[in-house]
Symmetry: C2
Subunit: 297 residues, 2 copies
């Protein structure tokens, strides 16, 4: 089934009849925006308002804005629920499953020696139980604390790989989650692409750590530091910001708390900071790596 | 007095003692961010959180986000209060007066024949009463409905120039407000720069109208139209959006309501729309004009 057919099928199951509906859509589904709206209208929605602000996860939930524009319900497309966010209007999470080559995936997993802690991004969690049943004890699957689904990995939650195993495998189509799973578990970690290609994330982690150490050294010379909090509901971390402010204060480094929705370089042009510490999504700090990930992100 | 001295003087008058304070700052003052924070800390603020999201006016008020990050009061720097926005925490507006060459300004105004409806952006409203007293009946000053201060012009409110007169003069350092004052009043309109240069906005308006007519013609061929609402508290216009949806529906044009904080071209890449109608700030639709404004914006 194609992605757009899956999107249609999932949305047709949501009861929107007679309601003013707001929708958040991830970048990868924006091309289907018209179809999304058509399906919701066909389902009897009184009004559909589609958010076009880039959305990278359920941590970035626009329920306040949805309420503000008169919506009665918010459909958050492409992600599952995240942590314990208090919503101002009801939110319906509609994750979308993407295709993968299950035979090749199974084949790649069988070739790995030892026990595998298996996880995936939300797009592939539906396959995990099937894989576990097929491969038996070789596969262990855990559940994170912020992630909603068993076996689901988030950039900020690798709890799905917390069980005892020899190696982690993350089914995903980017390198980001793999890097963080390896860093958070300390275990050998492979990314397994939907096409069945197995990639050791080790060199990418080394690359990122070098980048991070360099950033730390440069930041050590900073005269004034911006400690940045994200205002996205699932990313606000005042506890971390205050802790970092305290540490910097003890070291005699001047530091200020900055806040933003998206953290973009052009937002801080001309500002009096020599370094920034970002306390929101870990992805923000992983800028494009020297070692290129051949599939893109 | 320099701009930064004015900023310091204004902020020193705000009682922030013992409070958690959030601050919104316009782009033009971001270079003084460190000083802003230092002054508020010196004033006894318990904590200062500075928003770095670009801010172009009091219509874009981040009181919800300020509350979300634990602030007890929001200082909105560089703008005066706007319309009737309900705030979730107390908001203190701190407009900043900028320098101008009053002698040259007076000289330029004296040379204009007939009665002048005089207005300015918030940075220069403090000079308007002085000018009126010096030039007498030649000057008339009105008050808008969304603008807070007598003589203050906004891109969406030229009420300050509503009184009977022969010509409008807008003291400002850009062309945008002048264009909208001329369009909304239909009268001959000059922009008067802080340096005392008088510029007829007529050609700029003609230029913009040509641009707008071209956009309309191109939009007439659109198969699907995005009617965009801004989620900024002072810019939400569901009434306009629904009206436009109705008109397009009657004409048989498919149209959808889209929502965003900032409306940026990269947000709609790959989306199935051939044209957009933006219902928020009028400035968004005035893209860079063919006829260049030599001072910048």
């Amino acid at each position: 089934m194609s992605t757009v057919e899956r999107v249609m099928e999932e949305l047709q199951q949501v009861d929107v009849s007679g309601k003013r509906v707001a929708v958040q859509i991830p970048e990868g589904l924006k091309q289907y925006a018209g179809i999304v709206i058509d399906v919701l209208r066909a389902g009897g929605a009184e009004e559909v308002i589609l958010f076009i602000d880039p959305n990278y996860g359920a941590c970035d939930i626009r329920d306040s804005e949805a309420k503000r524009v008169g919506a009665e319900v918010l459909i958050h497309l492409g992600h599952s629920s995240f942590g314990k966010i208090i919503h101002e209007i009801p939110v319906i999470y509609v994750p979308i499953t993407l295709d993968l080559d299950l035979q090749k995936i199974m084949g790649a997993l069988r070739e790995i020696k030892g026990r595998i802690a298996l996880c995936s991004t939300v797009h592939y969690t539906k396959y995990i139980e099937k894989i576990r049943r097929a491969l038996g004890d070789k596969i262990v699957v855990g559940k994170g604390t912020l992630a909603a689904i068993e076996g689901q990995v988030l950039g900020c939650d690798s709890g799905a790989c917390s069980a005892d195993a020899d190696v982690n495998v993350v089914i995903t189509d980017g390198i980001f989650h793999g890097i963080l799973v390896k860093m958070q578990t300390g275990r050998k970690t492979f990314v397994l692409t939907p096409a069945g290609e197995l990639i050791d994330v080790g060199p990418y982690v080394e690359d990122y750590l070098r980048q991070r150490e360099t950033a730390k050294i440069l930041a050590g010379r900073a005269k004034r530091v911006g400690v940045v909090i994200a205002t996205k509901k699932g990313q606000i971390n005042m506890v971390a910001a205050r802790k970092i402010m305290g540490i910097l204060g003890e070291k005699g480094v001047r530091a200020d708390i900055l806040a933003c929705d998206y953290f973009l370089p052009e937002y801080v042009k001309g500002m009096p900071y020599d370094a920034y510490v970002f306390t929101g999504c870990p992805r923000v700090a992983i800028s494009p790596l020297r070692r290129r990930w051949k599939y893109g992100a």
